[in-house]
Every structure is written in C-alpha cells, then in structure tokens.
Amino acid sequence: MLNEIQKRILQEVADLANVPESGAVNIRSNGKKAFRRNTDNIIIESKSDKDGIDIHIKPFTKKENVHIPVVVTETDRHDVVYNDFFIGEGAEVKIVAGCGIHNCGDCDSSHDGIHTFHVGRNAKVTYVEKHYGEGEGTGKKILNPQTVLYLEEGASVTLETVQIKGVDDTKRYTKAVLGENAELVVQEKLLTHGEQYAESEMDVFLNGKDARTRVVSRSVAQDKSVQLFYPRVEGNAACFGHVACDAIIMGEAKVRAIPEITCNHVDAGLVHEAAIGKIAGEQILKLMTLGLTAEEAEEKILEGFLR
C-alpha cells in the first residue's frame, strides 16, 4: 500500500486523499503498479511489449472517471511509461493523470509519460494532468510529458495541464489531429520559480471540416526561471483555431512565446495572440484599497491568473 509521502503526492497531483472508492484506477509508484481497479466499462491492461498500460473505454460509457496517477519517491529513478487510451464512440469520461516526484537525494529523478489518445466519434473527454515536485535533495525533479491525440468526427477533448510547484525541468510536447467537427480545448497553467526551466511545444492539426481548437496558456515565471512556449496550429480545412499565450514575468525570469498559425485552406480561420508582462501596478493598488497588503495582493492576482 501507499506510504504517507506517496499519499501526499497523490493528493497534490490527483486530489486523492487515498485510493478512490469507485471508478477505474491505476496507481504507478516508482516504476511499478501499486494499485489497479477496472470497472464494467473501463478496462486497464499492462502492455506486454513495453512499460505502460492500455486503457479501453467502452462506447457510450457515461460519466465515469479514470485515475492514473504516477508517484516517484526514489532518487535516481528514471521512469518512462507508455499509456494508450482507446475511447469508444459516444463515451463521456474524465481522466485524471498527473505525476508527482519526491526527491530527497542528490541524483536526478524523472518521469516521461507518453500518452496517446484515440478518441472515437462523438466521444467527450476531459483530461486533467497535474505535475508536482518536492524534496530537499539537490537532485532535480524532471517531468517530460508527451500527449498525442487523435480525434474522430465530432469528438471533443478538454486538456487541462497544471504545473504549479517544484518541477525543476520540464519539456512538454502535445500533438493533436482533429477530424470533422472535432474540438480540442487546451488550458495550460504553469508556474516556475528558482532556476527552473519549462518548455511547452504543441502541434494541432485541424484536418476535418468545422474542426476547432482553443489553446490558452497562462504562466507565471518567477525568480530566474525560464519558460518557452511554442504552440503551432495548422488549418487544413474549413476550421477555426485560437491560440493565446499569457505570461506574467517577475524577478529575473525570462519568457519566450512563439505562437504559430498556418492556414492551408481558404476557409481556415486562425488567430493567435501572446502577451508577456509584469503584474500591473494598478491591480496591486486596487487590491490594497480593499485592505490587502502588496504581498497579499500579488498572491491573489497570481492565484486568479493561474486558476
């Protein structure tokens, strides 16, 4: 079973105080299966050719949850896992992933989660992925997620990714291929501090008629941390896409945002915007007139920005 550190991390990355009482679950701890439960509609199987799992969600499964958190608590642990999701036609599910690393040692620990989603016709998926690091050791906590999504006609995916604390180094790559009338919403939230580095690269291909995407990336870069955003959207049919990168920069941090849109069809409508700046002084002054100190005001502003 899970120890206290593992339980705490589980709470951070999956909002689970313990193993959930219902729904499909697969908890991976230090490279091994720690717990698994299937349901009538959701079957999780270990891969036979490499490390990872296949998650099969039956067509028209409604309002079920899948929890697949990963916990790494050993220093010098380098975990690579391949998870493939097969979501049947018309299913409506919420998948909560996420990874937390507790590293008290001097060696780096890392987790590379490579997730591929095959989303069937008219299926609706919410995918939540939260990353978290902790531990006093000098070893880095490194997370490199890759998320690849194939959306069939009418499928809809909302991808919520959150990295708020403790991850020293991350390179995220997301790729999505959308069929006719499919929809992808990406909500990325990121906070880096100290000397952390975060990179987020994304390719969205709007291949089907009336496919649409909305990518919203919000980040806060504090201290001497560095962030790089490179979202690319390609419209290959009559489609719509909107990419927005918003960053608050503080201290000696550096942020680079390079949204790129490519239209290969006359009826493709794509928009991008990027804004990087410090917290507006007027915002702090306003909250101070309501009784907050400057520090409390800053905290509230960041909390809202990254909500």
């Binding site: 919000r218 918003d246 306003k286 101070m288 007139t289 009784g291 502003i301 809202g304 920005f305």
Partner: protein, 239 residues
C-alpha cells in the same frame, strides 16, 4: 471626521516645480455627503488619491477620526475604514467578479449577497457574478463592478472618483438612486468627485477645486447656482 490640513503636492514640471495641490485644508464631518467638482486638471482626483494614500503629499496632514494617517500606506488606511473607487479601474485576468467582491467584503459572500451589490450598480447580477473581470467586459461594466466593490467594502469613508464616467444613461439612473440611498441612510461619509448635476444635487456640501486649491465650499443649494454662473462666465473663481 476627516481633516485635511495644508495639503500640498508639488511635482517637477518642464518649467520648474508645479503645485498640483496647493495648501488644501478641508474638514468633512461624519456621515456627510460631499461632492467635489471643478474644471479638469484642477486637482480633484489627486486630492482623492492623497486621502486614500495612492498619492503622497509633499506637505500637510491627513487626520481620520482624529488619527494622523498621513504616513500610513493604502492597505493600512483601508483597514481603518477608508475606501476608494477608481475612475479607471484595472482588469484582472482570471479573477471573478465574485472574488473581487469577497476580497472587498473581507469574507465569503453567498450568491444572494454578491448579487445584491451588483444590482445596486445596475448590473443583472446572475449574468456577471461568475464572470472574469477582464477585457470581455466593457469599460462601463468594469466601472460599475468597481463601484460595487466599494459598496461591498462598506467602509466608513467611501470615495468615488467620477463614478458616472463611462456609464450609460440607464445604469446612471440606478447608480444615482444608490447614491441617494447612501445619502438618505446617513451611515457613511461619502466623497464623490463628479461633474454630474444629478449627483451634485445630492450633496450636503459642494467643494469647488480649481488650480490645486479649494475655491469654495458650501451647501449644495447655494453652491450649485453659483457654479453654473461661473461655468457660464468661463472662470474658475466663484463671484
């Protein structure tokens, strides 16, 4: 009671030092409704900011309920019961209207409470309470939310800087009604900077500021006609 004593605010201009405020002294009795008016650039907003701590006077003293608050920062003054509605309030990405109202009230508000403040400023509350205070809102909407935060703060001294600016006629009627209620309840000290006749006429006293100085102060009934005569005459000083 608010007492402003010999307030001066000097800035360096192209032609040397320039007084934005010049030796301003004013006493506002508790639970009075004061309107400060006057020509653009006369020092009204600066005076309001100095009272809230948003601007620092070069000389002079501010007493609030007998306590010298001149050296207190904005948050400290807010905690002592002074509040301020910005003429051009900022927007907050990701912060909801309800969040701002709760920060102002200093506690969690239930749905009905949050909505009641928005209704007072002419907003259909359920449409706004869970919206972000960002660029999806018009300037007039943000302005009314700003006024709602001051109402939610419920401070003993409420300062509003041109609350009518950017607000449509229909919402302005509701806003005037809210200010009238504040006036009639006589529970708070209200200072409003305004050029609007309907707000000016609510005042117990009108203060005319021009050229960084108080030109005149008096009961609304006497003052309003004098101000109008002065506007027609095109001069800053009352005759």
């Amino acid at each position: 009671m608010l007492q402003l004593k010999d307030l001066t605010l000097t800035v360096e201009g192209e032609n040397g030092p320039h007084n934005i405020l010049n030796d301003v002294s004013l006493t506002v009795e508790d639970k009075k409704f004061i309107v400060i008016t006057g020509p653009n650039g006369g020092g009204k907003t600066t005076l309001a900011k100095v009272i809230m701590g948003l601007a620092t006077p070069t000389a002079g003293q501010i007493l609030w309920n007998g306590e010298d608050v001149t050296d207190l920062d904005i948050a400290q003054r807010a905690k002592k019961g002074i509040s301020y509605g910005f003429q051009q309030p900022p927007r907050f990405k990701g912060m909801k209207v309800r969040d701002l109202l709760q920060i102002a009230a200093g506690r969690k508000l239930n749905h009905a409470e949050a909505c009641s403040y928005l209704t007072k400023v002419g907003l259909c509350a359920r449409d706004y309470v869970d919206r972000d205070v960002d660029t999806s809102l018009s300037g007039g909407e943000v302005k009314r939310i700003e006024i709602a935060t001051v109402l939610a703060k419920d401070a003993d001294l409420m300062i509003f800087d041109e609350p009518e600016a950017g607000i449509d006629l229909w919402s302005f009627a509701k806003l005037t009604e809210t200010f009238r209620e504040l006036h009639d309840r006589q529970e708070k000290t209200i200072i409003i900077i305004s050029h609007q006749e309907r707000i000016i006429k609510l005042a117990d006293e009108i203060v005319l500021i021009a050229g960084g100085q108080i030109q005149h102060k008096g009961p609304a009934g006497d003052m309003y006609d004098k101000i109008m005569a002065q506007v027609v005459a095109g001069c800053n000083k009352l005759v």
